[in-house]
Structure formats: C-alpha cells, structure tokens
Amino acid sequence: MGEIPILQIGDCLLVSIQVDMHDRLALELQDDLTNRIVASRARGVMIDISALEIVDSFIGRMLNNIAGMSRVLDAVTVVVGMRPAVAITLVELGLALTGVRTALNVDKGLAMIRRIIDAEEGGGAGRGA
C-alpha cells in the first residue's frame, strides 16, 4: 500500500492525489490501483487531480497506463478536476492523453462512470457476478 489512499464507493475506486507527484509514488499508485481493481472487482476508477499543479509526461504516462490497465481488467477510468493551466500546458507539451476519459469534477466523473457501466450491462456485455 502506497502513500496515496484508494477509497471505495460501491463498485468504484476513488483516488485523490493531494501530494506533489514523485516518480516512485506514481509507479506505486499504478501497482496499488491494479491490485485493488482485481481484489475489489471494481468497475470504475476515478482519479482526482485537482490538487496537481503540473502534469508532465511522466505523470501523463501514469494516467494513460492506469486507464489502459483498468480497461483490460474491465473497469472504466475517469480523470477529474484538471486545472485549466495544467490542461493548457499538457496540450502544448504534446501529451494527448488518448484513452483517458476526463470529467470536470467528481460529480460529473461518477455520473460518467455510472453511464458507461450501465450502458455495458444494458447491452449484456457486463461481467457476470
């Protein structure tokens, strides 16, 4: 278990990054989250980055990796709360964050996860209990 707590709300995992993102911490979070998705059978992962003052290519790669790993584990990842200055900088840096869904805040993020899971289950593509 790393220094960044992972909370569970129903079938969603919530991570709020409140510290200056150290490279090792980013890698630990990736591992922790992957394990928790499997252990908790979570269907959604929400990562709140509203406290992050920058997202560089390393942190961007971590977000991409988490989204990719959770996808193969049948979970949806939504990144929420990106600061406007961070968004502007990310685009100029050239980091597209393809494959990472984003929402403005936690409320909208949860709603997005719910919608995606419901649509999958409605289509009969959900994971069996």
């Binding site: 200056d20 150290h22 490279d23 090792r24 003052e53 920058i54 997202v55 560089d56 290519s57 390393f58 961007g60 790669r61 600061r83 406007p84 200055a85 961070v86 502007i88 900088t89 100029e92 840096l93 050239g94 980091l95």
Partner: protein
C-alpha cells in the same frame, strides 16, 4: 542581460526533480509570471530535470531570475556529465525515446519555453538552457 538572482541545486534523484519543480515555481512567481506561464516553465523544468537524472546520470541546475529591459524572466541551465546525445535532431523529435518515456521530454519542453538551447556531444555531457519571459 542582468541576473537578479542565481541559485544552483543538485539534480541527482527523483526527489531532486520534485525540489527543482518547487524552486522553479518560486522563481516564476518572483518574476511575476501568470499561473499558466508558471505551469509551463515548471513542466518544462520537470521534463529536463528528469532527463538529467535518467539519461545524464545526474547533474546540476543553475536557476536564474533575469531582466532584459522591462522584461523579467526565468532562465534554467541543466548540466550533466553523462554520455551526451549522439543524434540531437532525432532526440528532439516528438515521440522518439531511447528509454521508456513518451519521447516528449526535449521537444515538449522546447514548446513550453521562449528560448531553448541544447549543447551536447557524445561522451561530453549535455547542457540544456531554457528561458521563459513574462
């Protein structure tokens, strides 16, 4: 160009990368940068600092608050004694990486700055100078 303040700090570890970000942020605020400009120079510094640690085997940062006429700016000089860059043109290409990154470090950092200069030769280390003006 007058230098109003100068600090030198080690760039040897991932911890130092975090310290570099904090120090550059403080200087950018002192130079009167907007939040977006602060974020750009700090992000660029983070990219180059990580290169210094990962590829250069560690080095130093010289962090300067500079003035040119009425303009103030932040100038960063990262120097390492590492293997240098054999093909700078290739290293500056988006998406090219010799490591495990995304290959955005040099090219991305350049886009975030007003001035960007790389001096390198195989076996002779790398010096990256970047500046952003208010």
């Amino acid at each position: 160009m007058p230098v109003e303040a100068r600090d030198t700090m080690p760039v040897q570890s991932a911890d130092d990368v975090v310290k570099v970000r904090q120090a550059v942020r403080a200087r950018a605020i002192a130079a009167g940068f907007s939040l977006v400009d602060q974020t750009k120079i700090v992000t660029a510094a983070s990219e180059i600092a990580r290169n210094t640690v990962d590829y250069g085997g560690g080095g130093t940062l010289c962090l300067e608050l500079v003035r040119e006429g009425a303009r103030r700016g932040v100038r960063l000089t990262f120097a390492d004694q590492g293997p240098g860059i054999a093909d700078l043109e290739q290293a500056m290409t988006d998406g090219y990486t010799s490591g495990s990154g995304l290959g955005l470090g040099l090219s991305g950092a350049k886009r975030l700055c007003n001035e960007f200069l790389v001096k390198t030769a195989p076996g002779r280390g790398t010096i990256v100078t970047l500046a952003r003006w208010r």
